[in-house]
Subunit: 605 residues, 2 copies
Amino acid sequence: MLDRYLPILGWLKTYDRGSLTSDLVAALIVTVMLIPQSLAYALLAGLPAEVGLYASILPLVAYTIFGTSRTLAVGPVAVVSLMTAAAIGNLALPDSDAYLAAAVALAFISGLLLIAMGVLRLGLIANFLSHPVISAFITASGLIIAASQLKHILGVDAGGDNLFEILVALGAQLGHTHLPTLALGAGAVVFLFWVRSRLKPLLVRAGLKPRLADLLAKAGPVLAVAVTTLITAGADLATQGVRVVGTVPQGLPSLGLPDFDAALWQQLFVSALLISLVGFVESVSVAQTLAAKRRQRISPDQELIGLGSANIASSISGGFPVTGGFSRSVVNFDAGAETPAAGAFTAVGIALVTLLLTPLIEFLPKATLAATIIVAVLSLVDFGALKRTWAYSRSDFTAMLATLLLTLLEGVELGIIAGVGLSLLLYLYRTSKPHSALVGKMPGSEHFRNVDRHAVETDPRVLTLRVDESLYFANARFLEDRIEALVADNPRVEHLVLMCPAVNLIDASALESLEAINQRLKDSGVHFHLSEVKGPVMDALKHSPLLRELTGKVFLSQYDAWRELRADQPRENIATIMPSDDSLRDSTSSSCNGCSRSWDSCNSP
Amino acid sequence: MLDRYLPILGWLKTYDRGSLTSDLVAALIVTVMLIPQSLAYALLAGLPAEVGLYASILPLVAYTIFGTSRTLAVGPVAVVSLMTAAAIGNLALPDSDAYLAAAVALAFISGLLLIAMGVLRLGLIANFLSHPVISAFITASGLIIAASQLKHILGVDAGGDNLFEILVALGAQLGHTHLPTLALGAGAVVFLFWVRSRLKPLLVRAGLKPRLADLLAKAGPVLAVAVTTLITAGADLATQGVRVVGTVPQGLPSLGLPDFDAALWQQLFVSALLISLVGFVESVSVAQTLAAKRRQRISPDQELIGLGSANIASSISGGFPVTGGFSRSVVNFDAGAETPAAGAFTAVGIALVTLLLTPLIEFLPKATLAATIIVAVLSLVDFGALKRTWAYSRSDFTAMLATLLLTLLEGVELGIIAGVGLSLLLYLYRTSKPHSALVGKMPGSEHFRNVDRHAVETDPRVLTLRVDESLYFANARFLEDRIEALVADNPRVEHLVLMCPAVNLIDASALESLEAINQRLKDSGVHFHLSEVKGPVMDALKHSPLLRELTGKVFLSQYDAWRELRADQPRENIATIMPSDDSLRDSTSSSCNGCSRSWDSCNSP
């Protein structure tokens, strides 16, 4: 029991010196990578830079204790930071203190929600975010984030809630571009793109091992930070208008619960839910991908608790919402992290930075942080996914495109909500007109196939409809309409068999429809039968009046139905099936699954 | 083409004297029934009594032209009138003129929405209202309507938006009960209940035919109206405080389009949509039930146009939202109506009443109308449905109970929206953890069954998982988790086969999950295969990279998969399957559905 909620008890007892060394090396590399990221994402969320550092200490320790992934690296990430900015930006708060307090509250609510979902084992709520919707949302977020950072590169003031507003505001400010800032910022962007695409092959050619070259290349942002800070400090660019991070309080954050403000919490609730879901989905897919590479396992429900406790930890140490980050987890994995202890060591690293190195950050240009964000988020932009989805499914593509456009034009929250709503509606639409076919018997076999595709035996008095979908409220009416049409178009029909091998569920709506169909067919003088009903579906039907009221029977196999319902054929036809007539009688009792009532006008012997 | 949109062209050309007589008789009976109903439902909607008459003239003519049911009787109905009152009551309008204008606009918007849905063939949007939700909603509406009418019976003023408020307000007013009103109202209620339950058997015993007795009993409300009006006029009860309908303008309504008020229309849009959907669902199920009794057909999409044009007609003649009513359609059917012409004749009847008889309505007590409403709507209350649904499905019962309680306590609009939302979520929940089973081969057969339920042959190196549900975003993660767990728990596994006979759909989310599973299994050194993939699903997969990247194969049958994947067994085992070895080689090519790439380490001969 305790093991389930405290995964640390599992790996800690076998922790040895080898793991310690591996984890320490990985932690060092991740720390170096995390310094610029945590500062930059705080900036993106509209918060003071040091808040990013605070969100990279205790949350990592909490995840080490409660998380199930061996290698997930937790902290501030781009999309969640953007969502934080959007959530708090909506509130029209009086000052930056209130803004920070709202961010801290957001992390707390998000943490509570995640833990609650974990304890209630509701991880599956994240399922409502379909992959195309998430993918489109992240692409759109990447574009918005990149656009929102351009103002720092240009050294101008320009805001906006959506891509259109941001670009218009930037365009209006182009004339006020601050050239020294642009030089630093554009230089950093070019350098970082070069590092990302060219440095690794260069290092490999110079004789380094590919993995080491890859890890060194990840240190690019730190190099950009160091160099531009030195230039800015040395050339005194801050007094010439290059905006810098400025004085950052030295020392660790003070701990404390966030103030409870019912009105504020209520306003933040939906945002916190969306942030929790998006963060969880992203984090779990990273964790699962990495775990599979070593045949390890993660527990999604416990991951909710791990991420929830990380957010609570962030909140009580003055931080903002966090989750598992993709690129830094991959770095952690590649650097050889073996246990979650690497995360705790990273936390120690960031704590030391916060204690000792913050004075060095004073002259760090915001343009450099913006450059690291732009280069990082553009890798999230994946237009190829649109193309792949278009090729596979128009329906999913529609949800994807709507999410992309709405997120870009109406903002992140409306975008994701609309995307979720639309994928639900489209799924219902797709299953509301299920594939169905009139079937007939393949000559010389016991198989039944679509009459439109195969030369099959049919009988105008016995129609068999096969429906290839679970029957539930979204397609209950379809079934009624389809059968009404069948009977109206086939005046000689006496028996209608609904063949159910692909029906995994019959809900109460569909059950009522079946009862209505049974009653209407009775009014029309047609017997209604079922065949090949699955075990769990049959179990449920036994609790309903349908089986009692059915004018026909329930047949185990469609072949049983065919033999029995054609038993009152003219003599010459019966003769041909005589050899199996005994087995027919045998199967009659077994074919009815305990409801073997014959109907009024039954002609069978 | 014209026939499709004008069903009248179909039946009018064969219209004969016999049908004319039948339709006239039915129209007379429905007219008598419709007079008190139309007055009462206008009162329920918060509108002047004559508006109910207006809504019972042109809409019936419009439905005669555009509707597809031979016997549906259109006009004001209880639930839609309640929803109209709720929609307009929310708006805080200045006076009763504005209230009436809003009702007229609501009918117009509702008509436009219905026609648009019909032209776009979106009848299936009504599918989102599951049967349990509709049933609970109607039961709750019936209770609210009955409670809201009690004030007329007591002769007091008491309002409220939900059942709780209404009952509290009534309780506070009990002391002010107006005794003459109560005497009339309670008398009418008792009389109407007696008519409903006892009059028919009495008439039958007196020698009448059951159907005629039934029809006569339906005239009970008209008798109550006549008698109480006479008493009120004769004893001059109106001056003693018995509230009466009062002066009603004589003559037909003037025609005209409603004023376009963008702000008002926007406010009414969601209400109009809900009214359209609820009205359509009710109407279509009545129409289908009656049509089946004569082996006739209705077209749901054309029904949308028929009901939409009825609402437009109601609006331009100063009426409020209408739809097909259950009890009056049954009366129309039982009275022998043969064609929609009966509806047009009923319209003529109501028009004559409006022209000639409105002076007689002046002294009609509101308490009598309230009594007819109460007796009518209590037949809508069906608590038995709760019990039946509980027995069949806890999930549907949850949606039902939530709809019932929310409608009673929070009002009709929130109730139905919450019901729809909840049934969607519960459906997703039910399919998000689909039934799945590890299967093994039944000895001596080619069938594969659940290893937990049957003594089957298994192989620790070949695991087969059968999933009994379509794969889509709600269960994509479940599948990833399930397979991750399987592989972690079975270290000897080399091949994992996903058996898909019940998979009717794989959406883009599930496709990505399958790709992720394939990649993760590859990282774990396990080959990933599919078997028994359905035709349409396979067709879709061919447009995806999955088949190209798959580390395993796609097998037509699970038996093919079993034979091939076990082909590298120790000699003695292979020997036993030797006889079929040739057919195995033959089937290899056909089993791969065009993607017959063998994987890297394939050991087959």
